[in-house]
């Protein structure tokens, strides 16, 4: 009898360990398959995202980080230009990740915009590509998710990155899944075609404004980010998409780092080399007025209104006119040295800098004159 009790106990023990070890693995496997294969279906009606844009493609696509989301009054852009517009924005979205999205979007004629306003965030150009907004992964269809995973593993071979990826796949975005029926209705009311509608963000106090610290960039553009930027430019040329580069205004105390200006010069040089319009949002904007900034890196509602007006003034003719891909307009006078894409950007920039004696408010006027 004791022996059969022992055998019984051993059988129970084996069954227990089998369930405890296999159960979580099986459940986890189901969960991973569901998350990769199906979770993007729960984001279709959410705002500012890739699926939201795919549901309602626009002629003018603004793409970027939370800068983009908080910088543009999409309704005002549509009213001024007569074109449909959309802001596709994810927190801290950088050139590498934007390129991943655009590779997929521009390939499809049904979703390809006519005009692409690409965020030219100076600080991010010098930083390593990082995914900071898990909604980005949540929103991607399965194919793009797998491409992102491959891209991420190539750029981040260390073990901790694999653990982060595990957390991203298994853990992030669960809240949106479970609250989808209610969440998407609320978000739909708060945004219009990717940008904020009802949300009002006020300016900061003077003391808070003065305490803003500059984001650290780096002396050189990150090679991956720079290559992604150039790849995006080539993609736009290949698919006939009119490309513009724009950086939202930043508060003056937060842009005191010389490296930030160096990265802006890189963007200027790239835009010059590729005959692309480039808008530095700081120009013609009161960057030392706290009322226009919600924090160290984002505009307030008042700042958004002003900057959108500046953008329409600068790019308006380009956004409104129905031109083909061969008539991309230069924003800077041509240089006799004939810079090519990427390689001689620095020399091109130096020549361009010596010519920039015009007052800030002439940016829009200069564009109009060339038209």
């Amino acid at each position: 009898m004791p022996q059969s009790a022992d055998n019984n106990q051993q059988a129970h023990t084996r069954r227990y360990f089998a369930i405890i070890l296999l159960g979580p693995i099986v459940l986890l496997a189901f969960w991973v398959v569901f998350k990769i294969g199906l979770e993007d279906r729960f984001s279709r009606h959410l705002d500012a995202g890739y699926p939201g844009y795919c549901e309602q493609p626009a002629e003018v696509l603004f793409i970027g980080s939370s800068h983009t989301r908080q910088s543009y009054d999409i309704a005002a852009v549509e009213a001024a230009t007569g074109r449909s517009a959309y802001a596709m924005a994810y927190g801290s979205l950088d050139q590498n990740l934007m390129n991943l999205l655009l590779e997929d979007l521009l390939r499809d004629p049904a979703r390809r915009p006519k005009i692409l306003v690409l965020e030219a965030y100076a600080t991010k150009l010098a930083q390593r590509s990082q995914l900071e907004d898990p909604r980005f992964f949540f929103d991607l269809p399965p194919g793009l998710k797998l491409r992102f995973i491959k891209n991420y593993l190539q750029l981040n071979p260390e073990l901790s990155a694999r653990l982060d990826l595990f957390g991203l796949i298994v853990n992030r975005g669960t809240e949106q899944l479970w609250t989808y029926p209610l969440n998407h209705r609320i978000l739909a009311r708060l945004s219009y075609r990717g940008a904020y509608r009802a949300h009002v963000s006020n300016g900061v106090s003077e003391s808070e404004f003065r305490s803003f610290q500059p984001e650290l960039a780096g002396p050189e553009p990150d090679p991956i980010q720079f290559a992604a930027l150039n790849h995006t430019i080539q993609l736009c040329k290949r698919y006939g998409v009119r490309l513009m580069l724009a950086e939202s205004p930043m508060p003056k105390p937060a842009t005191s780092e010389p490296d930030i200006h160096r990265m802006k010069d890189v963007y200027r040089a790239v835009s010059l080399a590729n005959h692309l319009p480039y808008l530095d949002g700081d120009e013609g904007f009161p960057t030392d007025d706290p009322a226009y900034f919600a924090d160290a890196t984002h505009l307030s509602t008042a700042g958004r209104t002003l900057y959108t007006a500046n953008l329409i003034k600068s790019f308006g003719p380009l956004l409104v006119a129905d031109r083909g891909p061969s008539s991309l307009v230069q924003t800077h006078p041509p240089h006799t040295s004939g810079p090519s894409a990427g390689g001689s950007s620095e020399r091109a920039f130096k020549e361009e800098k010596s010519n920039s004696s015009a007052p800030e408010s002439a940016i829009g006027r200069g564009v109009e004159e060339r038209l």
Partner: protein, 487 residues
């Protein structure tokens, strides 16, 4: 080595496997080595400090048992002073120095009291009290002195409860190291389920609440009174789930190996009075202060004013134990005052009866006043705590903009509503489970409970797997320190 880290998972699997593979007479040695490895994962050099206090108390325990009268008492005082001196130097020296400097400044003198630059050894407050408990029990004749230095060392530094309790009594723990705990499926399955529940409390409940609390308290002056109220309520949840979670993990890890540690929390937020709360919250510490501070001072067997003074002293010292900051002192004194008021008003409140409504009101009042005390626990400075409370008092509960701000504080992106909803739902589910445990109700249907009778481990396995899946889906997966580690 944090409990919620991969290193600890690997450590635990190795140690538990070795525990059951070794002959039972050798197990305590392996556990001692493992506990040393665990302790040295924080600051290796501090093992010297720990062993010094272990040696002193071990030797004093033997001396106390072999002496009588004044000599016996002298050995006790030597042990207490030596142990507390270590605690004072590492934890309270700078607090005293800064306070003296402030006083010097107020009196017009130059601040000249020196400061020391020492990192607080992990678990110092806990194992100090555990050591003191041993020598006091030996002195009182309730515990024989442990003659085996290794076993005594293991009593002080047994890794599951080394850094944040429960603070064990020698009568409960010492003898267990000499017992043969063979593998038992019931212990293993219950222990693993407790570990899973502890991780759920920490990673799903506490860490979620912490993200909101930390974001608000870091810039509390930028937030409305309503947001501060919500943050303070969430901190009440956080501190409970964090500490209870740690204790549950410790108890579960020990149970897997067959050890029984004392229960440290007994659903404290369902208390109907402050005295009941302190019988349910951090039971090992509360009983320690009761047995070694409150009762020696006279307890409630003295005049009324002396009784109240004993309460105030005990709770103020308890507050100071939690941290070297005036906020903790005030928190402790606040709880002492609440107990005094409760005792004073007892003749009146006892006439209200025990109807459902009265019980519910008692619970709400107790909970609200306890939550107010947590503001002092969380605020970085005393002035901040008072300012936060003032702002909370002026909260606009019907202002839509304040509710919007409070909701947006759940997340930095536009997932605030989703994150906030899930966090609140999980917290409500957590307290629902606690409520069912409190009232002896089962969450499982009859058919599952009858399955459990045939397969006792079945419910444990099902619960454990469900908890781990919930942690995967909803937990904050990056390793974060437990709140009570700082004490």
């Amino acid at each position: 080595m944090l409990f919620n880290s991969l290193q600890f998972c690997a450590f635990f699997v190795i140690v538990t496997s070795l525990y059951f593979l070794l002959p039972w007479q050798q197990r305590w040695k392996m556990l001692l080595v493992a506990s040393c490895v665990f302790y040295m994962a924080f600051v290796p050099a501090y093992i010297v400090v720990l062993f010094t206090t272990i040696l002193i108390d071990y030797w004093m325990g033997i001396k106390i048992a072999a002496s009588e009268g004044k000599t016996r008492r002298a050995y006790l005082f030597i042990s207490i002073i030596a142990t507390c001196l270590v605690l004072f130097v590492f934890k309270y020296f700078n607090f005293v120095a800064i306070t003296v400097r402030q006083l010097q400044g107020l009196l017009g003198g130059a601040a000249s009291f020196p400061l020391v630059n020492l990192i607080l050894p992990i678990g110092l407050s806990f194992h100090t009290f555990q050591s003191l408990s041993y020598v006091i029990e030996v002195y009182r004749g309730k515990q024989q002195p442990e003659r085996n230095l290794g076993i005594y060392s293991l009593y002080v530094m047994f890794y599951p409860q080394l850094v944040a309790g429960p603070i064990e009594r020698p009568q409960n723990l010492l003898h267990q190291f000499r017992e043969d705990h063979g593998f038992d499926l019931e212990n293993f399955s219950q222990g693993l389920r407790l570990v899973a529940w502890g991780f759920f409390q920490k990673m799903v409940i506490a860490d979620r609440a912490a993200e909101y609390v930390n974001g608000v308290y870091r810039h509390w002056s930028s937030f409305s009174g309503l947001t501060l109220i919500i943050a303070s309520l969430l901190f009440s949840v956080q501190v409970y789930a964090d500490f209870s979670g740690y204790s549950t993990i410790a108890i579960g890890c020990a149970r897997i190996m067959g050890f029984r540690l004392m229960r440290n929390f007994n659903h404290p937020y369902f208390s109907c009075s402050f005295s009941e709360f302190w019988k349910r919250w951090h039971i090992s510490l509360s009983t320690w202060f009761r047995d070694y501070v409150y009762i020696p001072l006279g307890g409630n067997r003295v005049g009324l004013s002396r009784h109240y003074l004993n309460l105030l002293i005990t709770f103020t010292i308890s507050g100071l134990w939690h941290g070297a900051n005036w906020t903790f002192v005030v928190w402790g004194a606040y709880n002492g005052i609440l107990l005094i008021l409760e005792s004073t008003l007892a003749p009146l409140t006892s006439r209200l009866g025990n109807s459902l409504l009265v019980t519910a009101v008692r619970r709400m009042v107790t909970l609200c006043l306890i939550c107010i005390g947590w503001v002092f626990f969380r605020a970085p400075h005393l002035s901040d705590a008072f300012a936060i409370l003032r702002r909370m008092a002026g909260a606009r509960l019907l202002a839509r903009s304040d509710w919007f701000e409070a909701t947006m504080a759940f997340s930095v992106s536009n997932t605030s509503f989703a994150v906030g909803t899930i966090t609140v739902v999980l917290i409500l589910l957590f307290f629902m489970v606690e409520w069912m445990e409190e009232n002896g109700l089962s969450a499982f249907p009859d058919w599952l409970r009858s399955f459990q009778c045939q397969h006792p481990w079945g419910q444990e396995a099902f619960t454990t797997i469900a908890l781990f899946q919930a942690i995967m889906m909803f937990g904050v997966l990056r390793a974060s320190a437990f709140i009570y580690f700082q004490f």
